[in-house]
């Protein structure tokens, strides 16, 4: 039995010891925004936030998360934290099939959060590419995604 906070709501569930976080979110909580792409920690489609840091949902066991605070793409969307980033993804067509996109948004949100912590400096395109390099996208060629993240960083820096 674990109790944790998911997208701001307290959740208590029995979980099998072998249940991964991604399966816990999708199968037990019906939060299908996070996706299982490779199930061995390479593709990043299952990226979610646990206690403020992004993790691979396919590498974390749910049973280890008693007391943790988890944010998924659903929570991130509802809070409005990355509404500007999501709008830029739409404007730039930085998503095609969309299967990687929730994980990509979670990672891009992490870039935005780190840029803010670092005092508002704007990372270079190469740095954005480096930060996104754990998230596999088969459709876009990445360039539109880098564009969308860069647009958001610049707009935030201007308004800071």
């Amino acid at each position: 039995m674990i109790t944790l906070t998911v997208n701001g709501e307290r959740v208590t569930r029995h979980v099998e010891p072998r249940r991964h976080l991604i399966d816990f979110l999708r199968l037990d909580l019906g939060l299908t925004g996070s996706h299982a792409g490779c199930e061995h920690g390479v593709c990043g489609a299952c990226t979610v936030r646990v206690d403020g840091e992004i993790v691979r949902g396919c590498l974390v066991l749910a049973a280890s998360l008693d007391g943790a605070e988890v944010v998924t793409i659903e929570g991130l969307s509802d809070s409005g934290e990355v509404a500007d980033l999501q709008a830029n993804f739409v404007a730039r067509n930085a998503a095609q099939c969309g299967f990687c996109t929730p994980g990509m948004i979670m990672t891009a949100a992490d870039i935005l959060a780190h840029a803010k912590e670092a005092g508002g400096g704007t990372p270079s395109r190469a740095e954005i590419r480096e930060h996104l390099s754990g998230n596999y996208c088969r459709c876009t060629g990445y360039q539109a995604i880098v564009d969308a993240v860069e647009d958001t960083l610049k707009a935030r820096a201007e308004h800071a």
Binding site: E16, R18, R26, T32, G33, S34, H35, A36, G37, C38, E39, H40, V42, C43, A45, T72, I73, E74, S77, Q86, F89, V90, A91, R92, N93, A95, Q96, C97, G98, F99, C100, T101, P102, I105, R125, A126, I128, R129, E130, L132, S133, G134, N135, Y136, C137, R138, C139, T140, G141, Y142, Q143, A144, I145, V146
Partner: protein, 798 residues
């Protein structure tokens, strides 16, 4: 009504308020994707649903002995175990040949094999359980006696005496062979000023859709219907396949595909494990879900591009191409894949080699053989990157032999832009291409002089950079000549039904499908444009065989060219119908009226006469006020198929700028350019991203991606740690330019754009690498161009 022409419907007038064609409108379905609110097949949960897992063959070739299911059946949660014999009772096997590929042969394939496993990863036994985890526990408890057999893995020896004949009833491992020969090839080579030749290898690779293959089959015993939620590109084709092989009426099968997480041709084929799921649902009378995991994807998704080519090119003293002579060999695994067949890729190599160039003498043979590896079949830009790499590799070798600039040799040989219609040596008919305009556009974008100066300067510092070019042709908008004439039930036509509802909004349902390329966005643009409403007032329905007109779905870049034209024609018909009704209401001649941004207007003055909302209110709720004999069906359907040309060929050219480290053999991509001509561009932003995504898949095949087998037929690359795909940090900035030569087959004039990037990128990268290595007297022609292969070419390693 006046005659409808591209000009009369404003296809070239972007200033009209609802002129959406040619405009970068954002995709209406993108917000749900970025918020995680899409519905992929695995997101669908049905009452009483159970889960399937498969025991897959651990051997490349083995006889299946006794199958002991007792321990598996005892696993908690396991409901039933199915063998090949169990499924054969309800499901007929298939043979994947096409009648027009003369002499083609393949063996019958069952959803689960009856006696022999023929590739490592082939599904052998299925376990159905309450959860996927329990089904996997059941698989682990299965006991199967496999008797390993010698495996035929090397395509080079597949036809040699003593080779293991994979299906003895076929006599040998030859699936298909075709030679196209025209002119006097031997004479041309004998008379040539220079002859260059090389051996090319394209590495077996696969699509790696991020969403794995996914299916839920639900058989309802009450009404005898099968509903299949399926991550597929061709729902109507799959409807027919399930019906035929499960012995059902086609009308009793419904295929639904909501969001599809990547396809690239991987999801347009019939997979035995997916048919097995449908057969198991038929037997169990309840929904069965199967989602391939990543290992299963690598071992059982179709592979592609496993080719070895020997090729020669003859040129005269001026660099004019005299003849191509190409010999292609490909291994396709143990079965041709249903229903498109695995012979098409080699056939395309024959059709496409030398494609951009004007020459007379041609010989190309493809030989397609069986082997004990995963089956290969159509993957994005079928055959194109192979033909382009061979053609463009030879062009660069010829330029080098002549001491000629690679741009100059291309300029001298590209088919003239005023030479159309044109028939190529292997018999492909080109309606209108733009090779020279595309080359000129590319040279406006690529700073060649600056790059050459940088290259020269860098070499002095021991830094080796190279610039490579690759021109290409691309086959799109296929007619029935692609599959239909071969007997396959794969539709080359597509339909669209457009209706206006009481609030003046428009709903369009189309047989083409959305896999992320933006089909629904361009259909909304086309319908909005055709009817005369804001694009926000259009809703698109795709991916449901019960609610959309019959069509082919998405493959060979037919969404815009075929589905888009059907949408345009139906939208124009609906507009005419609306104007008939409006004319009756307004006491005006329909010809004097127009529709703009949801208003009926006076055509001459543009003055607004009434809203569509008001027209809808009267039609649907106050029909008593309209003339009794007035036709008022605000719904129209049109279907479209190309008629004059078997295919709408497109063209383009790419350039790649790379740096090769001779110490490590690593290739760094510096910048990449592509100019392509897909005819009318409906949405420039979407086309650009299609091209960029395609380039990156081409880069993957050129540099990273490789399905590696050992000599026993064991697949060594079964995770994303072993099988490398391009990630953001290694990818270059990509610049895309367009030339527009609309096809006259349709009012819209759109051809396909999805294969262009993949078709040209490997050839451009190969030529760039070889340009970089030229001072070191090294060359590579075997993809992927791994550090090991480059170091071997440099003589740095043995």
């Amino acid at each position: 009504m006046n005659e409808i022409t591209p000009a009369s419907i404003g296809l070239s007038r972007e200033d009209l308020p609802n002129s959406y064609i040619g405009r970068s409108v954002p995709r209406p379905n993108a917000p749900k994707l970025v918020q995680g609110r899409a519905t992929y097949t695995d997101d669908v949960v049905l009452p009483r649903m159970v889960h399937a897992a498969f025991l897959r063959s651990p051997h490349a070739h083995a006889r299946i002995g006794a199958i002991d299911t007792s321990a598996a059946e005892a696993v908690p949660g396991v409901i039933r175990v199915f063998t090949g014999a169990d499924l054969a009772k309800v499901c007929d096997p298939w043979v994947a040949t096409l009648d027009h590929l003369k002499g083609m042969k393949s063996a019958p394939q069952h959803p689960l094999p009856l006696t022999r496993a023929t590739w490592q990863g082939e599904p052998i036994v299925a376990v159905v359980a309450e959860t996927r985890a329990a089904a996997e526990d059941g698989v682990a408890a299965l006991r199967i006696e496999f008797e390993p057999l010698p495996a035929q893995t090397d395509m080079e020896t597949a036809l040699a005496p003593g080779a293991v004949v994979i299906h003895p009833e076929l006599g040998d491992n030859l699936v298909f062979t075709r030679t196209a020969e025209t002119g006097d090839v031997a004479g041309a080579f004998a008379a040539a000023h220079k002859v260059v030749e090389a051996g090319f290898v394209t590495g077996r690779h696969t699509g790696v859709t991020l969403e794995p293959r996914s299916i839920i089959a639900d058989y309802n015993r009450a009404d005898g219907t099968l509903t299949v939620h399926h991550s597929t590109q061709a729902p109507h084709m799959m409807q027919g396949v399930f019906a035929k092989h499960l012995r059902m009426e086609e009308g009793d099968v419904r295929v639904i595909c909501k969001d599809v997480g990547g396809s690239f041709g991987i999801k347009v084929h019939v997979y035995p494990d997916e048919v097995a799921v449908a057969a198991m649902a038929r037997i169990l009378g309840r929904p069965v879900k199967f989602i391939a995991d990543r290992f299963e994807a690598f071992a059982s998704d179709i592979h592609a591009r496993d080719h070895r080519i020997k090729a020669r090119l003859a040129v005269d003293t001026e660099g004019k191409v005299l003849a191509f002579d190409v010999d292609d060999l490909t291994g396709i695994g143990p079965y041709s894949v249903y229903p498109r067949t695995s012979a098409i890729e080699g056939n395309q190599v024959v059709n496409l080699c030398g494609g951009p160039y004007d020459f007379k003498n041609y010989r190309c043979t493809t030989t397609v053989v069986l082997q004990n590896k995963a089956p290969t079949c159509q993957y994005r830009a079928v055959g194109h990157p192979i033909a382009t790499a061979v053609t463009e590799g030879l062009m660069d070798l010829a330029a080098e032999a002549l001491g000629m600039d690679p741009i100059e040799i291309r300029r001298r040989n590209l088919i003239r832009d005023d030479a159309y219609p044109y028939t190529s040596p292997p018999g492909m008919r080109f309606e209108g291409l733009s090779h020279h305009a595309s080359l000129e556009k590319l040279l406006e974008m690529v700073p060649v002089a600056k790059i050459r100066a940088d290259q020269e300067e860098a070499r002095k510092r021991g830094v080796y950079r190279g610039l490579g070019f690759a021109a290409f042709i691309e086959l799109t908008n296929p007619s029935p000549f692609m599959y239909g004439i071969g007997g396959a039930r794969i539709s080359a036509q597509d339909g669209c039904t457009v209706r206006m509802d009481p609030d003046g909004s428009i709903v369009a349902s189309s047989g083409v499908t959305e896999q992320g390329q933006g089909t629904e966005a361009i259909l909304a643009q086309i319908v909005a444009h055709g009817v005369g409403v804001p694009v926000s007032r259009v809703k698109i329905i795709t991916g449901d065989t019960q609610t959309t007109p019959y069509g082919g779905g998405t493959w060979a870049c037919r969404g815009a060219g075929i589905g888009g034209e059907a949408a345009l024609q139906s939208a124009i018909a609906l507009k005419q119908q609306i104007l008939e009704v409006a004319g009756a209401m307004l006491q005006a001649a329909p010809e004097s009226l127009d529709i703009s941004m949801g208003h009926v207007t006076d055509k001459a003055t543009g003055a607004e006469r009434m809203t569509l909302h008001e027209l809808g209110r009267i039609v649907y709720f106050r029909g008593d006020t309209l003339p009794k004999d007035l036709q008022r069906e605000l719904v129209q359907t049109r279907h479209f198929i190309t008629k004059e040309y078997p295919f709408a060929f497109t063209n383009g050219i790419q350039a790649s700028w790379v740096e090769v480290d001779p110490m490590t053999g690593m290739v760094k991509l510096l910048e990449h350019w592509c100019v392509e001509d897909c005819g009318r561009v409906v949405n420039p932003m979407l086309v650009d991203e299609q091209v960029r995504g395609g380039i990156v898949q081409g880069i993957g095949g050129a540099l990273y991606e490789h399905c590696v087998y050992d000599s026993e037929g064991n697949l060594l690359t079964t995770t994303l740690a072993d099988y490398l795909v391009p990630m953001s940090a290694e990818m270059p900035e990509m610049h895309v330019g367009h030339v527009e030569t609309p096809t006259r087959e349709s009012l819209l004039g759109a051809k396909g754009a999805g294969e262009a990037g993949t078709a040209g990128a490997p050839g451009a990268i190969m030529n760039a690498i070889n340009d970089a290595l030229r001072p070191l007297n090294a060359r590579v022609h075997e993809q992927p161009f791994t550090p090991e292969r480059i170091l071997r070419a440099l003589g740095a390693i043995a």
